[in-house]
């Protein structure tokens, strides 16, 4: 058997649902004095699946906690059979897990679970995203008064935005605290959750609609500070500049923003 054919047979053995290897492939192998070929191949077969499942337990700890060992094992086995790893780094193994949950489970169960998977994946993305150059309060203090009206910002590279239609954050917090889960509930209205890394620690926060609109105006629409104040005047009247400064200070303190490069 040529090397590439032998490796293809080995790969098919690892990816198959049964740990009993194809007899033609097994016949190309030797065991040892007390380790037969079947057991040797089973060691590789089990190691393949258990290694991938261990990574998913780490990256989706809240889903594991929610589903329990058996259901989580069944779900993750189905996932890695459907989407075998495509990246050399196991760090990317869970990239399609939320989408797979939507494909694999019935809608009533899948929507809140997929949302929890997206939240957990957002933490993974934030964890090792590029550092960027987040604005600091010191940067703001050194900004000359004439530069304030034209100030434009964008989100720091680690910031992930997640639309939450369910009480996913409460469920995630319960898993972290290893406490009883609240029942899954739809939120009305849905809210935006931010997940980001600041000073090497991951953070998360829900935003009220007014604050989210203000932030989106600056980081997505491209408002400068003066335009933010104008937009807020509709709701806050003369208090708009104070509200704008309050939010801006909070976002900068949180490490959410960096200067928009013209």
């Amino acid at each position: 058997m040529r090397l590439t054919d032998w490796q293809l047979a080995f790969e098919q053995h690892l990816l198959s649902e049964t740990q009993i290897a194809n007899s033609g492939f097994a016949a190309t192998l030797l065991g040892g004095p007390t380790l037969d070929v079947e057991t040797g191949l089973a060691i590789y077969h089990n190691a393949y699946l258990s290694r991938l499942q261990e990574v998913l337990r780490h990256d989706f700890g809240a889903i594991w906690y929610w589903l329990g060992d058996d259901e989580f094992a069944a779900l993750t086995e189905a996932y890695v059979r459907r989407y075998p790893s495509a990246h050399y780094s196991l760090r990317w193994l869970g990239e399609r897990f939320a989408a797979f949950i939507l494909e694999h489970l019935v809608a009533g169960q899948s929507a809140p679970l997929a949302e929890l998977a997206r939240l957990e994946w957002a933490f993974t993305l934030a964890f090792d995203a590029p550092q960027g150059q987040p604005l600091t309060l010191n940067d703001m203090a050194q900004l000359p008064p004439e530069a304030w009206p034209g100030l434009q910002v964008t989100l720091a590279p680690s910031v992930q935005q997640l639309l939450c239609r369910f009480n996913t954050l409460a469920i995630w917090r319960a898993s972290k605290a290893e406490s009883d889960f609240p029942d899954s509930q739809a939120l009305a209205p849905a809210h935006i959750c931010l997940v980001w890394r600041h000073q090497n620690v991951c953070h998360y926060r829900s935003l009220e609609p007014a604050e989210m609109c203000a932030l989106a105006g600056m980081v997505t629409t491209g408002w400068n500070f003066s335009e933010l104040c104008s937009a807020l005047a509709v709701t806050f009247g003369e208090g708009a500049p104070l509200q704008a400064v309050t939010w801006l200070k909070q976002w900068v303190q949180d490490g959410l923003l960096q200067r928009r490069v013209p």
Partner: protein
Amino acid sequence: MSASLPSLGYGLGLRSEYYQQILEQSPAVDWFEVISENYLVQGGKALYYLDAIAERYPLVMHGVSLSIGGPHALDTDYLKQIKQLAERIQPAWISDHLCWSRGNAHQLHDLLPLPYTEESLYHVAGRVRQVQDVLQRPLVLENVSSYVRAKADDFTEWEFLNALAHLTGCQLLLDVNNVYVSSRNHGFDAWTFIRNLPPESIRQLHLAGHMDYGDYVVDTHDHPVCDPVWALYQQTLEHLGPVSTLLERDDHFPPFEELLTELSKARELGATALARRALCA
């Protein structure tokens, strides 16, 4: 007979569980080995600690994804990232495994054994040369533990390693535990394996623990080093002279002090072996 490559002394695998203690306590560890893939990221805590620890300790890069014996084309993007990381932390050397970890279609994330045939030898040798051309330095390859072997083998594993080093100028990372594990599983003599390797090519040694199931042994890196592996290690050092020695632990992480104690044991046993070697010289 002596190893010609200079020794860095006694090192530990750098694991995130111990980052903070390493920075706060500056432990008496001569060097650290980093898993390259853990740092092929764009930012975050891992790179922060890596940079800080690189300022204080010599580092060595140890990869698990090169798949030097794989059926696919070499991943040039991966190699480029390895090279960039090397430029960042200036490792004393770069190692990976004599194995394949990626199949025709998918990443398999295991250190899979190769048939030790002429076909494999020339396949791997060509790819080692490619890697060395990119990295501009000798690649260091580690022997892996295995649980099956191919009937088609033309060579023993040590003959294959010898031939590969001869053909390519690559260097060897001799994992003493892996030799022990494979010797138990396949029924060969561990010392025959080690004494037949080219001493001048051995850049580094690995020590680790395993799970012994009686009829077979599984390389798990989650236990302390066992007595037969310590004995084999001493015999190896007595044969080779000083070689950089790395204690690996990849799971069931004990308190850092326990690892330091185990590293001290490696130093003491190593010193005894080297003293015996000096006496016999």
